[in-house]
Symmetry: C2
Subunit: 253 residues, 2 copies
């Protein structure tokens, strides 16, 4: 049978989700924990290749097993075998035909900016701090520029080199810039994301706030499909995979 795990993790100590030789990854940590619980090496598939240092508030992974451990016991069993920065939140049986990556309908990311001259020990490695404080005007420029991203566009100008993806058109459902005390949260949902797309969008919005890009030019910049016209790639520590939606599971989550 196929088991679907709902996870959350802090990405700081991992070279992303996917197994890499001689590096700590989330996938290998989960496979190690499964081996301790099931007594055999079970390959794990993940819903997304999150980058080194990126966090997940919600992440899904699957594995196949012939051994029927009651699903309500799986989270506690795996959590006692996992390191403290990864947790299994729930487990359920899914049809064998289910594919944890291909069946994703929509993903939402959140990028957290700390708008403060002073660093916050409690948010170290969990936000990207902007030392020059953004005021209301700068934030309204970001909110204005954000509107241009919503809808179906070729986002090849917002993709880092090194990706072999053929189709670079994605549908962005929302891109919101939310002020929450001294945090600025940028939430973006889409039917899929290109390599580093969220981090380049965030960097471009910050370049807009700092006056290096005009908010009114954003639609034209997207249409140019030229990476050199977009902004910088914001660092990974502010990025969180926030929500992953599947057709049949949408109601249950």
């Amino acid at each position: 049978m196929k088991i679907l795990l709902e996870l959350s993790y802090i990405g700081t100590n991992y070279a992303g989700f996917q197994v890499q030789p001689n590096k700590a990854t989330v996938q290998s940590a989960i496979q190690d924990a499964l081996e301790r619980v099931y007594g055999e090496r079970l390959p794990v598939k993940g819903c997304s290749r999150t980058d080194s240092g990126v966090h997940a508030l919600q992440y899904f992974a699957t594995y196949d097993t012939a051994r029927a451990i009651p699903t309500e016991r799986i989270p506690l069993a795996l959590n006692s075998a996992l390191p403290a920065d990864i947790a299994v939140r729930s487990a359920r049986i899914v049809p064998d035909s289910f594919h944890v990556r291909h069946d994703v309908l929509r993903k939402e990311y959140e990028y957290r900016l700390l708008n403060s001259r002073i660093r916050d020990p409690f948010l170290e490695g969990r936000v990207y701090r902007i030392p020059h404080i953004l005021g209301e005007h700068e934030i309204s420029l970001m909110q204005c520029a954000a509107k241009a991203f919503v809808g179906e566009h070729d986002f090849s100008g917002f993709m880092s080199a090194g990706s072999s993806v053929a189709d670079t058109v994605r549908r962005v459902d929302w891109l919101d810039v939310i002020v929450d005390d001294n945090l600025i949260k940028i939430r973006v949902a889409a039917n899929g994301f290109l390599y580093n797309m969220v981090r380049i969008i965030v960097g471009t919005l910050l370049d807009t706030a700092h006056g290096r890009i005009a908010a009114d030019d954003m639609a034209a910049i997207i249409a140019l499909c030229d990476r050199s016209r977009a902004g910088f790639t914001a660092p990974p520590e502010g990025l969180y995979l926030r929500r992953v939606e599947y057709g049949d599971f949408a109601a249950e989550q």
Copy 2:
């Protein structure tokens, strides 16, 4: 001149504030940072002896120096010399007569309980998790018992052994049990606290929630002044020094 630092820190990696031989403490970390900035060893005084593993959202410390660095530059200079889990939030000059510990009028602590069967990687080391979920009834028992602590009482039944304090009467201004999603926040303010007083109050409230102590008995238990009648000592990782009030600075904070 005397400089007052406002700090915040994560206590996880420190054996409390006060310098101890062969142990990492917040005080020694600050003195190391001051030495890098000022070029000399400057003794630091703290507002409170927080225990090993206890956090501070707000903490005050002072040092004396003859060198006049503009106070607005002190936070950035010290923060670049401090480890990531300690930050200076502000600095100001105070009268030489100011005493950072004796002049405290009121301190507020917050204790954070995670009310969840599943651990949360993002709160690891920053909350005390209760694996058996507390419902509305249990929380109302805690809120009822909490009322008995407010006012001036001899709290010697809520003090760990090892303290040499003579006067064990303290004035508790409020003790609130606040539900915030799956967190339970216990906030207590007083003109002073005995050794481990907050952690024993929290343990006693949890014993009340679990039915081991009757909420109606709390006033009598306080009056007995007998440590063995109070509850267990809750662990340090959920405890935060939240606010420290001084007479002249109250308006500025």
